[in-house]
């Protein structure tokens, strides 16, 4: 009996597993878009784009938020609820700041660099790919808000780290995804 339970404990929690499969699925979506980008960039009519500076700042912000999230997870596991709430709040703020910065980046692209939806070059792909990524970050921010409120509401009876772990994994994923996209646009775009 014990042996079996130990064996089963090694298995991943189903919710975490679902997240990993979902990550695979999201990766496929961005792989589809970036390969479409590569295919189209070989055409003679291709218009490249210069990535606005703001996006460097947003890269820094999302990387820091990822570190904050990891620290929040650690303090949750160590039952440091006060610190957990603080760090969660910080992650949340940084996540929101990231989305706002993306918006500012779009504005700069639209107003200053005059890249609108007209055409089908790197600039238009940038709007679609960055925009979809921002939507995924927004989803994460909403999840974080829910967890943030939960961290205050009532006493935590069940100290299971699984929900926090799931949120943290997703958060690191959107961070990594952003780094991939950024590098992609700098290298290919």
């Amino acid at each position: 009996m014990d042996i079996v339970s130990n064996q089963q404990k090694k298995r991943m929690h189903p919710h975490k597993f679902i997240l990993w499969v979902a990550i695979g699925s999201i990766v496929m979506m961005f792989a589809g878009l970036t390969s479409a980008f590569i295919v189209k960039s070989n055409q003679s009519t291709w218009m490249p784009v210069e990535v606005p500076r703001v996006f460097w700042l947003s890269t820094a912000v999302i990387v820091v938020s990822s570190i904050a999230m990891q620290m929040a997870l650690r303090s949750f596991k160590q039952r440091g609820m006060q610190q957990y709430r603080l760090l969660m709040g910080l992650t949340l703020l940084l996540g929101a700041a990231f989305i706002i910065m993306q918006w500012l980046g779009f504005q700069q692209l639209w107003d200053v660099q005059n890249i609108t939806f007209k055409g089908g070059g790197a600039g238009q792909f940038l709007y679609v790919i960055f925009g979809l990524h921002a939507l995924h970050v927004l989803g994460g921010v909403i999840a974080l808000i829910v967890m943030f409120i939960r961290a205050f509401a009532g006493r935590t009876k069940l100290y299971s780290a699984v929900p926090v772990e799931v949120a943290a994994t997703y958060w690191h994923f959107v961070d990594l995804l952003w780094v991939y996209i950024m590098v992609f646009f700098l290298a290919v775009g």
């Binding site: 009996m1 079996v4 339970s5 089963q8 404990k9 298995r11 991943m12 929690h13 189903p14 919710h15 597993f17 679902i18 499969v21 979902a22 695979g24 699925s25 999201i26 496929m28 979506m29 961005f30 792989a31 589809g32 878009l33 479409a36 295919v39 189209k40 055409q43 009519t45 291709w46 218009m47 609108t116 939806f117 007209k118 055409g119 089908g120 070059g121 238009q124 792909f125 679609v128 979809l132 069940l158 299971s160 699984v162």
Partner: protein, 603 residues
């Protein structure tokens, strides 16, 4: 409680609560939590099935309507005008109506019936029951999966009633036709609704797929190792993997199309003149959409086919009272099909100006699929060989599936060769090929599944006499409808054309087209008879009196006749053997729950 339950406290709690309910019966489930917003995988499966049936009636009816046009292009049917108004002015199907009919027929049958209705139904019902789990990994996401499908259905259904009509650029919605409202009535609001509906549908299949994969890998009962799983579960597993990896790519293609349609970008559009008006779009590539579409579109074929294959394997083994022949070969070929499914998409694009060298690689990879397919066919036939076959309606439909899969698979070899495809592409030959191998074959797999597991779903049997009539008419009808289309296609008759009577070379097929139309109407009527049988039997069918009516080995037949939420009263059974110990050591069948005896022979 099983070990699997105790490991995950959060998951356990909900199940444990349900578990207690079955014994104590103090907690009352309301109608809404039990039948509408249910988180019970069995109810969700039935919801998928019934929604799928409704869509199948709509999609089937549409095919009858456009067959009327194809069989009788110069006749008028005043009754059509009564029902459809301007779409059938003067009793004649108008071109816009015809294109809308074929587009929605394709979309509905491929996605709503044979994806959601097939794997949505049987993955939901069978996975937890056959692997020994009380429910899915996340019952809540599972419920969301159905409701996203429902919303997708509502949006698609509503698009049928708008003034400009539903999407009508073909189910593959190739731009520029689908991107430009001025090019086609159906590319106006109808196309936007189509895209929204498909986006919702993609979310639904992803939520479902995530759950199926996670449940199969994480929630199996004690002793249920991967290689002890019934082939149905393996097939559902690979189906879900295909869906999770390919649907997001369709979504990205659809997003770019939405941008092109509504925001003025030119991802797919370039140098276009519509009705004398020069469009400003520049730099787009219509071929790009085809790549993105078929990267989903080809795996989609296997998303449709694999669940049918899995169920057919199970049903043939149970009803020939013999172990499945070559279990590991079946797994290997499912896996091979799954890999190859992602490497052959460009065989839908041989005539798009694809580099012939690249084309030859896709030819090779496409023809490679013949190997795992042939292995599967061989194994089904050898499973039946010298079996003690019980010809239930489910068995007949399973055998019918094998027949259709062979016939349709062989014509795939024709089309997979890029040189022959230059002649055959976009002809009725293609229509015949994919309807037989994918459409009708998978429908047969679905029927086999419904007849076989109906007793588990509703605690009653379907009427067998109606079942036999249903099978024979559908089987003969399917061949009568689609076999002649091969000849039409070889003669060069194009698909999707409204009226071919102005070509002298096709007038020889006039009577043939009439015959096909008449048979389609008969076959459609027989499907309605099945629908009647289905709903009648839910309430009035012969009652199941034993927990294991088919004498099958798998775990779903160890549950009560009408299992509640949680599936097993008391503990989840432990598994000691694979699912196919039939006709072994002088015993007709040995359930998976029975421990291996001391002197038992090996399989």
């Amino acid at each position: 409680m099983s070990e699997a339950m105790n490991v995950y406290p959060e998951v356990t709690t909900s199940h444990a609560v349900h578990h207690d309910e079955h014994h104590v019966h103090h907690h009352k489930e309301t109608f809404i939590t039990k039948y509408i917003f249910s988180q019970d995988h069995k109810t969700i499966g039935k919801q998928f099935l019934i929604t799928g049936i409704i869509w199948a009636i709509i999609g089937g009816l549409f095919s009858v309507l456009f067959r009327l046009q194809l069989g009788y292009p110069d006749q008028t049917f005043p009754i059509l005008e009564t029902f459809f108004g301007k779409w059938a002015r003067g009793g004649q199907i108008q071109p816009e109506f015809y294109y809308a009919l074929i587009t929605i027929h394709g979309t509905v049958l491929v996605f709503f019936v044979l994806t959601a209705g097939l794997s949505g139904t049987f993955a939901n019902i069978l996975i937890p029951l056959q692997i020994g789990a009380r429910d899915m990994a996340s019952p809540f996401l599972n419920m969301l999966s159905y409701w996203f499908f429902f919303m997708a259905s509502v949006v698609m259904f509503s698009s049928l009633f708008i003034t400009t009509g539903p999407a009508s650029g073909g189910w593959t919605v190739y731009p520029p036709l689908s991107a430009l409202g001025q090019a086609l009535e159906g590319s106006k609001l109808g196309m936007d609704l189509w895209l929204i509906s498909m986006a919702l549908f993609v979310v639904s299949s992803l939520l479902g797929g995530l759950n199926y994969i996670s449940t199969i890998l994480n929630m199996r009962t004690k002793g249920m190792s991967m290689t002890r799983m019934p082939l149905t579960i393996w097939a559902m597993f690979f189906t879900a993997v295909l869906g999770v990896l390919s649907f997001p790519v369709l979504l990205s293609g659809a997003i770019l199309l939405l941008f092109d349609r509504n925001l003025g970008t030119s991802f797919y559009l370039s140098d276009i003149v519509v009705n004398g008006e020069i469009l400003p779009n520049e730099g787009g590539s219509a071929i790009l959409f085809q790549h993105l579409f078929w990267f989903l579109g080809h795996p989609e074929v296997y998303i449709i086919l694999l669940p049918a294959m899995g169920m057919v394997s199970e049903i043939l083994s149970v009803n020939s009272r013999k172990p499945i022949f070559g279990y590991m070969a079946m797994l290997g070929s499912l896996f091979a099909i799954c890999i190859l499914a992602f490497l052959v998409w460009a065989h839908h694009m041989f005539v798009t100006g694809l580099n012939p060298f690249l084309g030859s690689i896709f030819v090779l990879l496409t023809l490679l699929i013949a190997v795992p397919s042939a292995i599967k066919v061989f194994n089904w036939l050898t499973t039946l060989w010298r079996g003690n076959i019980r010809f239930t309606p489910a068995t007949l439909f399973a055998i019918g599936f094998v027949s259709l899969f062979i016939s349709g698979g062989l014509t795939g070899i024709f089309l997979g060769n890029s040189t022959i495809d230059i002649h055959l592409h976009d002809t009725m030959f293609v229509v015949a090929h994919f309807h037989i191998v994918m459409g009708v074959a998978s429908m047969f797999g679905m029927f086999a599944g419904v007849y076989h597991w109906f007793p588990k779903m509703f605690g009653r049997y379907l009427n067998s006499t109606l079942g036999y009539i249903h099978f024979w008419v559908t089987m003969v009808g399917a061949y009568l409808i689609f076999w002649p289309m091969h000849y039409q296609g070889l003669a060069g008759m194009p698909r999707r054309y409204l009226d071919k009577s102005s070509w002298v070379s096709f007038t020889q097929f006039g009577e043939l087209d009439k015959m096909i139309t008449i048979v389609s109407i008969i076959v459609f009527a027989v499907q309605l008879m099945f629908v009647f049988n289905f709903f009648y039997s839910i309430f009035k069918g012969r009652k199941v009196t034993t927990t294991n009516p088919w004498g099958a080995n798998t775990l779903e037949w160890t549950t009560p006749i009408r299992p509640g939420h949680g599936n097993w009263e008391g503990e989840i059974p432990e598994v000691h053997r694979w699912a196919y110990d039939y006709g072994k050591d002088g015993r007709e069948f040995i359930p998976q729950t029975e421990p291996i005896g001391e002197n038992e022979s090996k399989h």
